[in-house]
């Protein structure tokens, strides 16, 4: 009988104890697996979300940050210049502002919304139209500005394609007296970047400017660019930076990295802290279990040594026992961890300002590999002391003690 066979028989000798130990490892391992998913989950999910928009370079003003953006003047000229770059395939302009939407129903007061103006008429990357149509490609001459509203806003204000919608932006000074802008809902859909507590309205650039009482502001908060296939986002960002050094160009990778360093860092660190604690916990508990198990079997171990079993064989047996407990529990931890991740993800996504489609926990193959590797190392380390105990025990003294006790 080899070490695995002996280890299996030893573990199976006390099925209740083994089941409890494996359960403990499975639950703690599930937490470890979940935390490992958290460590990169936001990054991966955010990156995927950015990529769905169809643009891989973002250009903002040289002042401010990705969140607090200064408007870029002469935006249409800038868009044309960027569009002429060989590395760039297409360009879109985006403006954003806080506003209130005034519903048609008397009992519904102003609802806070995020107003988005864009030149990208298709915007199929960020809107999933469920009713009506997307924004028209060309700016309509005359008539109320076309608008797409999110399904949540549509439900709140009972809007349908064709419904009127009044928008009022927050303006300082004399402009605060401007009346609200009346638009017309042309489509209703899901906005991929919408947070749980956000309501979004998208319109054309002309419609956005009209809400500010300005005919032709020609400003943009963000310029989006899609790199030409083969050129790559890094090359496109570099070309734009060379064209306009006063602006800041970020590829999606760079945007993700910025968020990684700032907004997401708390969750990454929580992940590290909880993963470390989980591993330490698992180590302590498996080591304690194995040590107690060895202490209960000192007579057997001494007898095996007296019969001629070498220390390394005893060590191999214990290592295999640890591997069985940790390995079985670790495998069971994978589906458990997946289920736990779903629950925790659901909790965290309730946080305000988080896009509904953003996930905190994302499963990647490397996560499984890391989980297995970490638990394996833990299992080995946890068996070091019990192995030392068993390998170093004085055979004769132990036999004598076992007989007397």
């Amino acid at each position: 009988m080899n070490a695995w066979g002996l280890a299996w028989r030893t573990v199976a000798r006390n099925p209740a104890r083994a089941a409890l130990a494996v359960s403990g490892v499975a639950v703690i391992g599930a937490l470890l697996f979940t935390m490992l998913m958290l460590s990169r989950g936001l990054l991966v999910s955010f990156r995927a979300l950015l990529d769905t928009a169809g643009f891989d370079v973002r250009v903002v003003s040289g002042q401010g940050s990705m969140i607090h953006r200064e408007p870029i003047a002469d935006a249409s000229e800038l868009a044309a210049a960027i569009g002429r770059l060989p590395e760039v395939e297409r360009v879109a302009l985006v403006r954003t502002a806080g506003a209130v939407a005034l519903g048609g129903r008397a009992e519904i007061r102003a609802v806070d919304i995020a107003l988005v103006g864009t030149t990208e008429s298709a915007i199929g990357g960020v809107w999933d139209i469920v009713r009506g149509s997307p924004l028209p490609r060309d700016e309509p001459a005359g008539g109320p500005p076309p608008m797409i509203v999110s399904t949540k806003l549509a439900a709140r204000l009972r809007l349908e394609p064709g419904s009127p919608l009044q928008i009022r932006v927050f303006l300082p000074g004399t402009a605060s007296a401007l009346p609200p802008t009346e638009g017309r809902v042309v489509g209703i859909g899901g906005f991929r970047f919408e947070a749980t507590d956000d309501l979004t309205v998208s319109t054309t650039m002309k419609g956005f400017a009209s809400a500010f009482g300005v005919v032709d502001a020609d400003e943009a908060d963000i310029v989006l660019a899609a790199s030409r296939p083969g050129a790559g986002s890094a090359a496109a960002a570099a070309a734009i930076a060379a064209l306009r050094p006063d602006l800041r160009s970020y590829s999606n990778d760079q945007v993700v990295e910025q968020f990684n360093q700032n907004a997401f860092s708390y969750f990454r660190q929580i992940s590290v802290v909880l993963s470390s604690m989980t591993l330490a916990f698992a180590f302590l508990l498996v080591a304690t279990l194995l040590t107690m198990s060895v202490n209960q079997r000192l007579g057997e171990v001494a007898a095996l040594r007296a019969l001629g079993f070498r220390r390394r064989r005893i060590a191999a047996n214990l290592l295999c026992e640890s591997a069985l407990l940790v390995g079985t529990g670790g495998l069971a931890a994978l589906p458990l961890g997946g289920a736990l991740a779903v629950v925790l993800d659901r909790i965290l996504r309730q946080m305000p300002g988080i896009p509904e489609r953003l996930h905190f926990f994302v499963l990647e193959p490397q996560t499984v590999v890391l989980h297995v590797a970490l638990l394996s190392v833990t299992g080995v380390l946890a068996s070091v002391y019990p192995i030392w105990l068993a390998a170093r025990l004085p055979i004769a003294a132990t036999l004598r003690r076992e007989i007397i006790s």
């Binding site: 002996l6 040594r305 001629g308 007989i403």
Partner: protein, 228 residues
Amino acid sequence: MTREPSAIVEGRDLTRLFPMPAGAVTALSHVSIRVDPGDYVAITGPSGCGKSTLLHLLGCVDYPTSGSIILEGRDVAGLGESGRSRIRLNRIGFVFQRFFLLPMLTAWENVELPQAEAGAPKAARRDRTAELLAYVGLAERRDHLPSQLSGGEMQRVAIARALANRPPLLLADEPTGELDETSGEQIADLFDRVHAGGTAIVVVTHNPAVAERAGRRLAMKSGRVVTG
């Protein structure tokens, strides 16, 4: 000119001290013993006289404070733990008072285990295990766990295990200590058969039924051999 056969094991001027908080205890003091092939030696004496200590030294389970152990012509002092393990596995069989069978293995598996450790092929292990269990009269109990065996049956399985790798020397420490008289007789009979098969036996015992079957008796007292 006849050549004197070499002893299987020889202990020369063995002393074993155990350091204690209240002062060192001399378990053995200048004891010499020689076991030749085919010998059947019984070591008797009151509790605490050093019988088991002597057995442990002969079985390379313990280290003497002074003196030497010569096993089949080789001084074991120069051997590392790995070498001593090899000796215990292949050249010495050990039978304990408390049997020390692995409780999660069947009788068959307990007997097979040392053979697997020694690297015997599967077929050879199977044959040898069947032979030994039949030899000790437990062929039909091969699939029983130790918890399903009586004390005497467990000790017979332990003897079979000790003989698994055909050692020339069998060391037994109080093999009937936990058994009733009838079972003790059965073990004594078994030892006779093992001895008749050519295996040298050294047995530590309080049981007169076992001691009187030995070809040679060593009486010990206070760590010394007084007769024999």
